[in-house]
């Protein structure tokens, strides 16, 4: 069996990152966009934790950062849900075509 090195984790997190971003760009439904933002943040978390685990650094700042990122992405998602709900109240569906009024 081959060993799982640091680079595997990095590549995995990059793939997740790309999937998340493509999801943001492509999704029609805004809730899907929020979920994809979460995917991206998780990918970043994976990045930090992988670095902390595989390299013997003096401080464990990576893990602490990962905790903070989790918390803050939860905040972002919460606010996103509030805003989506506000828009949903007036229009019956919430897709990315509904929020195209400001343009030019």
């Amino acid at each position: 069996m081959f060993e799982i090195t640091l680079y595997h984790y990095l590549v995995l997190s990059l793939i997740l990152f790309a999937i998340g971003f493509i999801g943001i760009i492509i999704s029609k439904n805004i809730i899907k966009v929020l979920i994809c933002i979460e995917i991206v943040m998780s990918a970043i978390n994976l990045n930090f934790i992988a670095f902390t685990a595989y390299k013997n650094y003096l401080f464990l700042s990576g893990m602490i950062f990962a905790l903070f990122i989790t918390a803050i992405s939860a905040v972002q998602t919460a606010i996103g849900l509030v805003l989506i709900y506000q828009i949903y109240k007036n229009k019956e569906k919430i897709t990315s075509e509904e929020i195209e009024e400001l343009k030019g």
Binding site: M41, S61, F68, G80, L102, G104
Partner: protein, 478 residues
Amino acid sequence: MEIIKDIQNAYLPELILFIFIILNIIFSFFIKKNTYKISKITTLLAIALSGLSIFFIQINPTYKAFNDVYISNIYTTAFKIMILISGLLIILSSQSFIREKRQKSYEFFSIFLTGILSAFSIISSNDFISAFISIELLSVCCYFLTSFRRNHKSKEAALKYLITGASSSAIFLLGISYLYGITGNINFSDISDVISTSGINIMFIITCILIISALTFKLGCIPFNNWIIDIYEGSTYGVGTYLSLIPKIAAIGLISRLFVFIFSYSPIIQILTAIIALCSIIYSAIGGVNQTNIKRLYAYSSILHSGFLLLAASCVSVYGFSCLIFYIFTYIFMNIGIWNAAIIYTTNYQSDEIIDYKGIFYKNPYFSIAYTICLISLAGLPPTSGFLSKLYLFSALSREDFTYLIILFLTLCATVISLFLYFKMIKVIYEKNSQDTKIIKNITIGKIILYICSIITILICIYPNEFIKLSQIIAYYI
């Protein structure tokens, strides 16, 4: 007790702001009458006291608080003072908007103060964790402020802000994570130590570019500048003023400090930042030509000046940073001047189109003259301070090496094109043959602030030396 010593020496302004935020929230439960007045007075008190307390913290030898996470020195204090001045002027000028929402004015002011608090934290942060958290806090405050007026446009603007903000935070974090992977620290000084001993490689440069690109989101420069135009149109004028000043000052403070610690190890990063800034200047100069909505015009002008600020920060020298401070200082007054003029006009006539400003010179001469002075200052023409700040910027740019000369030349061309943005507005003000020019009825405080801003603009041009020397001293201590 380390914490108390740290608070006493470095964290006092933020603590006062925090106390007043909580006070505002507590008042919102108990005091139901005169909500607007009480919240305004508490906010003004907060800003005044926090400004006063800056004299009591330790500035001169750099004080690192909370285990090297939080920095307090002359440079950061200068930025904090500028943010407080702009906050004060914004509150005084945007009164008519907040007054509508009686019950919600507590919320508005608490979020306002939270934004200022987070801006302080961004500037003084010495660590990527605290920088990230403060940026997120500022973003959250701005999401709320954008959607404050509950019509569809504002909500849509806030949602757009959120999605773009989230994607930029993602890229920011990606950059930080790779930087952590390369160096193993997330403290600015520690990273700087590690990189000066080991070398730099291609991964480092890519990381730094990611970080800079993500920070241009708050500034409003090229990779992430599309949100600005829509969000300024969707929010109210007071919030627009807030958005065009405070995140910008905070972000450029952070970027300039990052330049000193981390980004100065490779000249490619400097040149790429300068190219990004140049692209945003050209983009805004050309893009603003076709606008008919005044808020969008102001948004393009905001992108233009963010480009100049980034250009000033990218020449990593004492001249560059002193130019940056001088530019921000003059920019605050010009910007508040023009937004104030728009607020005064809109309070009377509720219209966002440029055409409706036709011919206001002939019925409101002093107003239009003050407005014109602020516009001319933004364009960068002689008897005003905008000219001096641009002159200083170009002289700082010309001291760098050869590529900067090409960038300087292109910036000059772009400045000429950007004159058109402002002259469009000036031409509309002085148009003669309109029957339906509007008379602006008395809005005293707004007009007073507009006049003060325009007079300060001209005064800075007459006696610039003290300000320039002051900014040089401040920049030396970065």
